[in-house]
């Protein structure tokens, strides 16, 4: 094990995959000389050259489409988009081409592409750079959606994304880039998709999160233990598609209560999907309605106080848990 930050763990994954498979190449705005807007690709241009670490114009639809076309040709491209909000300029390529071509062509076409993007608020970047919309991509059959919360998961899941023959939307929370953690050193450290991880075991309530919101859930669990003697279990979903509901249901059958924590909006969001599935699969085990702690229903404000009021906090999670006991 080595301690490293998320951005370094992600870079290690990219480096190892570039070395392992000559079909892998990277496309993105400022991923070369600049090193990536969050420094994930720093140094890769020097090591692998401009054919495989390719700076692109600011043309999200064009570069994602080029990636999809190259994947159709049997390459293993990765496209980096600076933020999830920019991915909407490439929405057509992601949802109409990447997600559907395998099905529409009756399996003749495969799209082994990795599309990375940053999400999440908390840095006063305003409403066009701060939202968490993982659940939006999870809506589409044909896509896989990955959202790591730790450096180890970041590395293992990103390496796995390159081994998958399907389009993978890989979403990184901006607040996690500087996060430190222990990362296994072995060459082929992979984490299977569709396996949630239990970050903390508990008996009284299940807190479910992914990406950035996992950290609010963990801090809330600490507060609940210290202040209220409530023993919370924390589950990190890690991938939204495929979704590991078995782990969630097993936990809820033990704790009889669940709170879904996410940075996305509550209305029409992914937390609603989780709550609904818990109701369908564990209704008789529930002692309270499933609670959702999400972002407030507003575009993200710039002002620091307003932004923090808009984001879910560990106190919000604690409050939700106390309300259901």
């Amino acid at each position: 094990m080595t301690e490293m930050r998320m951005r370094d763990a992600l870079r290690e994954a990219l480096r190892e995959e570039l070395i392992r498979d000559d079909r892998v190449f990277l496309l993105g705005e400022d991923i070369g000389a600049y090193g990536g807007s969050y420094s994930v690709t720093k140094g890769l241009l020097e090591e692998f050259g401009e054919a495989r670490v390719r700076d692109t114009p600011i043309a999200e639809s064009g570069i994602v489409g080029v990636g999809v076309g190259a994947a159709m040709a049997g390459m293993r491209p990765m496209v980096e988009l600076m933020t999830i909000n920019f991915s909407f300029l490439a929405f057509d390529q992601i949802v109409n081409n990447a997600a559907k071509l395998h099905y529409m062509s009756n399996g003749q076409i495969t799209i082994p592409i990795v599309i990375r993007m940053a999400s999440g608020g908390g840095s006063q970047l305003g409403a066009t750079h701060s939202h968490s919309l993982e659940g939006l991509y999870a809506h589409f059959p044909g896509l896989k959606v990955v959202c790591p919360s730790s450096p180890a998961d970041g590395k293992g899941l990103l390496k796995q994304a390159f081994r998958d023959d399907n389009p993978v939307i890989f979403i990184e929370h901006t607040a996690n880039y500087g996060l430190k953690g222990e990362v296994p050193e072995q060459e082929d450290f992979l984490i299977e998709f569709g396996k949630a991880s239990i970050l903390r075991e508990g008996r009284d309530v299940t807190l479910i999160g992914y990406s950035g919101s996992v950290h609010q859930a963990v801090r809330a669990a600490d507060l609940l233990a210290e202040q209220e003697e409530i023993d919370a279990e924390v589950i990190d979903l890690r991938t939204l598609r495929p979704l590991d509901m078995d782990t969630v249901i097993e936990s809820v059958k033990k704790t009889n209560r669940a709170v879904v924590v996410e940075d996305d909006w509550r209305f029409g969001g992914f937390a609603g999907e989780i709550a609904s599935q818990i109701m369908e699969k564990a209704f008789d085990w529930l002692d309270a309605p499933v609670a959702r702690v999400c972002s407030k229903d507003v575009p993200m404000p710039y002002n620091r106080n307003l932004e923090f009021a808009a984001l879910p906090s560990e106190e919000d999670v604690v409050e939700a848990v106390l309300a259901m006991l």
Binding site: G62, V64, A70, G74, H102, M104, S105, G107, I109
Partner: protein, 335 residues
């Protein structure tokens, strides 16, 4: 094909042999008859959804696609039956796809607008206007990175030119010198809106602005299309980067089967029908002695048989099993 043919006929002008001309004529007649029959079967309730017929534009597909080698790639738009047939996709399986049957080229999952045969490097019809242009650039980038000596042809309509993906794709292709031939079928209408009301620029001039050679040609003359496409493919293959062709053409039928055609006059359609590509080639071949009436009637009968067989095949083909509904959403591990 060599000019010293088995049948002693005079070689046509422009370096196209009589045998090639007969191939072009046959393919154009096949497409015409196939489309007429598809329209008929749609009216009879055998084909559903949107059906966009290619009638009138046959010279574009036939003149261009016949230049390509097997290793070359094709991406096209949703009016794609003609391109599929010119590329040699099995007419039986194309018709079966229009019927939505299990033997269709896309297993009944794609339909008229989404024909695929990857074994022939025919990567599909695309029904989001201009959405396939970046894919063609990506395919060309990949073949270039692997030094495969392949050219990617990307066919689209004049309606694509106002889309952002058109401009992003031309820029990327030119910037990276990818071997793409952009082939614009300018049939003067984006659905019902005339081009002059939707574009404040000249199409070929836009392409030249991205620093690629561009030519505007008569898309109702199969020989002219073939000659220009040869130049384009040679340019892309020898590392010259993208090439742009704007082929002026006209669709005889409505935009789709559900279009009442309120936006254009019958006299305009009649005027373009006088410039018909099949009649033009037929006349040139009769005049030069490359064709006689007997042979022409044989071709007509052959095409009739091929299309009838396609319909019979489509009728006989089974419906896709309901148990396959969830298949091919994802590539399963280990496949």
């Amino acid at each position: 094909m060599s000019a010293s043919a088995t049948r002693q006929r005079p070689a046509a002008a422009n370096g196209v042999t009589p045998e090639q001309m007969e191939t072009f004529l046959h393919q154009m007649m096949l497409i015409r008859r196939f489309e007429e029959k598809a329209g008929e079967m749609y009216t009879k309730g055998k084909i559903h959804g949107f059906l966009h017929l290619y009638t009138g534009q046959e010279a574009c597909a036939v003149g261009s696609i016949n230049v390509l080698e097997e290793r070359d790639h094709i991406f096209t738009h949703y009016r794609d039956h003609g391109h599929a047939l010119a590329r040699g996709l099995d007419p039986n399986r194309v018709m079966a796809e229009l019927y939505g049957k299990a033997d269709g080229v896309s297993g009944g999952r794609g339909g008229s607008m989404h024909l695929y045969d990857v074994s022939k490097n025919f990567h599909g019809g695309y029904a989001i206007v201009a959405g396939h242009l970046p894919l063609a650039v990506g395919m060309a980038l990949a073949t270039e990175m692997r030094r495969e000596d392949a050219v990617t042809m990307c066919i689209f309509g004049d309606g694509s030119v106002a889309e952002g993906e058109f401009h992003e794709s031309l820029n990327l292709a030119a910037l990276w010198k990818t071997p793409v031939v952009f082939f614009c079928e300018n049939n003067l209408y984006g659905m019902g809106v005339p081009l002059k009301e939707s574009l404040s620029a000249n199409i070929a001039t836009l392409a030249k602005a991205y620093k690629m050679p561009a030519a505007t040609i008569n898309g109702m003359d199969v020989i002219e299309v073939y000659r220009e496409m040869k130049k384009a493919v040679a340019h892309a293959r020898k590392g010259g980067g993208p090439y742009f062709i704007e082929a002026m053409t006209y669709r005889y039928r409505a935009h789709s089967m559900s279009d009442p055609e309120l936006y254009r006059s019958k006299s305009e359609i009649a005027e373009y029908r006088k410039r018909d590509a099949i009649e033009r080639l037929k006349k040139a071949m009769l005049d030069s002695g490359a064709l006689d009436e007997t042979r022409y009637r044989e071709l007509e009968a052959q095409v009739e048989r091929e299309v009838d067989e396609a319909v019979e095949f489509a009728e006989r083909s089974p419906q896709p099993a309901l148990s396959t509904l969830y298949d091919k959403v994802y590539v399963e591990a280990g496949q």
